[in-house]
Amino acid sequence: MDDDISDILASVSAPLPSQRKLDLQALTRAWVNERTSPTLLPYPSQLIDRVTDRIKKQIETIEEMTSDMDPKSNFILVVLQTELERFKFLVRSFLRARLAKIDKFPYHYRDLALSDPNILSHLEQQYLQSHQALLASHYHASFLSIFPQGLQKLDDTTGLSMIDRPEEDSAVFCRVLRDAGGVVIQSEGGAGEVELTRGDVWVLRWRAVKDAVVRGDVELL
């Protein structure tokens, strides 16, 4: 993911930005993508690990500086703490956006995680499973245990499926970061194709650009 961005940046600015800057950019992008995409995106575990490590270090630095009680460092402290709060906000909002999606379509993502283990982090998997177990036992205790056996399932797919799915056909705004070839779009006049060239901004169906977003060729707005 990192070298994906670095080649774009290299073409814009001459000196290569530091890993920290890249991570901030990647985190911001992941956050916007996650908040605007209708489906869950793969969990960027390495990025999150690096960022949380750095947050931890920064908290330690701030604690050291405050214990020094040096009046000259007060201004720097304010800057550092503001930055820290912003980082924490990004990670928090990112994780909450993911949890909201997981809670909305639990069975869908449970099944999806079996075929694609990268979609959820280990913790999210645990959360998903325990949360659904809690819900199931709550339903059972409240009314489901009285129902006939055949109707007790919560993920029944005969007849009307009980597994809700996210709407993959909803429209998203996106910007092309790197030439990504053509995508097929459906219109009233039949199928057409649009060429995704760098710098373009499109409104497209999520289904059409999903792969390009996961690859990092396209970002959502």
Partner: protein, 221 residues
């Protein structure tokens, strides 16, 4: 009448989705809906029993064949669909309520706290404790407890981030707050502050976030 009670539940669920508090659990309605399901189930087995009995007694006895007996087939189908509908309605009702409970857990008002805080209110002369306690069913109370445990466990993995923190992007790290209720003494990096009612402070947002959520402090803009 069929399904009338279940409709009530759905309307209730729809209404409570926009309410700030949780209205009392509709124990009687839930019970009558589950009873309806059991009655339908009994009638179904009665309808089917005459066929199974007939086919075992004599070799040329009637086997259940929907095309020979469209009346019974239709009755069975309608019964089956009513049961499924009732199940959906019950699920929708309970899920809406648990969503509400989860939201409360995220906002920091976990059940134990909710009860203790209402006890304080009742001590001040307003006996609201009884109404709050009874608006949850026993199962729901258990669920809320378990969910807040689950949430705490998940949050514990992200200590530096504070997942339940504000989802508003941070602007200033220091904010003006007014104390609405005595909250005792809190420890900050800049020493301890005693929060007495009606006093005003300029404090770090991160230090007092929880107190704002719990209603001890008010943020001044």
């Amino acid at each position: 009448m069929y399904a009338e009670q279940a409709t009530k539940l759905v309307l209730d669920a729809k209404r409570l989705a926009s309410l700030p508090h949780l209205p009392p659990y509709a124990t009687t309605t839930v019970r009558s809906v589950t009873k309806e399901v059991r009655d339908i189930e009994r009638e179904n087995s009665r309808l089917l029993a005459q066929f199974t009995a007939a086919s075992t007694q004599s070799s040329d006895g009637r086997r259940f064949d929907p095309s020979n007996d469209p009346g019974t087939a239709a009755a069975l189908l309608v019964n089956h669909l009513s049961m499924r509908r009732n199940k959906r309605c019950l699920l929708a009702y309970h899920r809406t309520r648990t969503n509400k409970l989860e939201e409360m857990c995220w906002n920091g008002a976990d059940v134990a706290e909710l009860q203790t805080s209402t006890v304080q209110v009742s001590a001040a002369g307003e006996p609201r404790h009884a109404t709050t306690a009874s608006s949850l069913s026993a199962e729901e109370e258990l669920y809320a407890h378990q969910y807040s445990d689950l949430l705490a466990a998940y949050k514990g993995q992200w200590t530096d981030i504070d997942l339940t923190g504000s989802l508003e992007p941070p602007k200033d790290i220091f904010i003006d707050v007014r104390v609405l209720k005595d909250a005792g003494e809190i420890q900050t990096e800049y020493g301890s502050i005693t929060l007495t009612k009606n006093s005003q402070f300029y404090v770090r947002q991160g230090d007092v976030e929880r107190l704002i959520q719990q209603g001890y402090l008010q943020r001044l803009s």
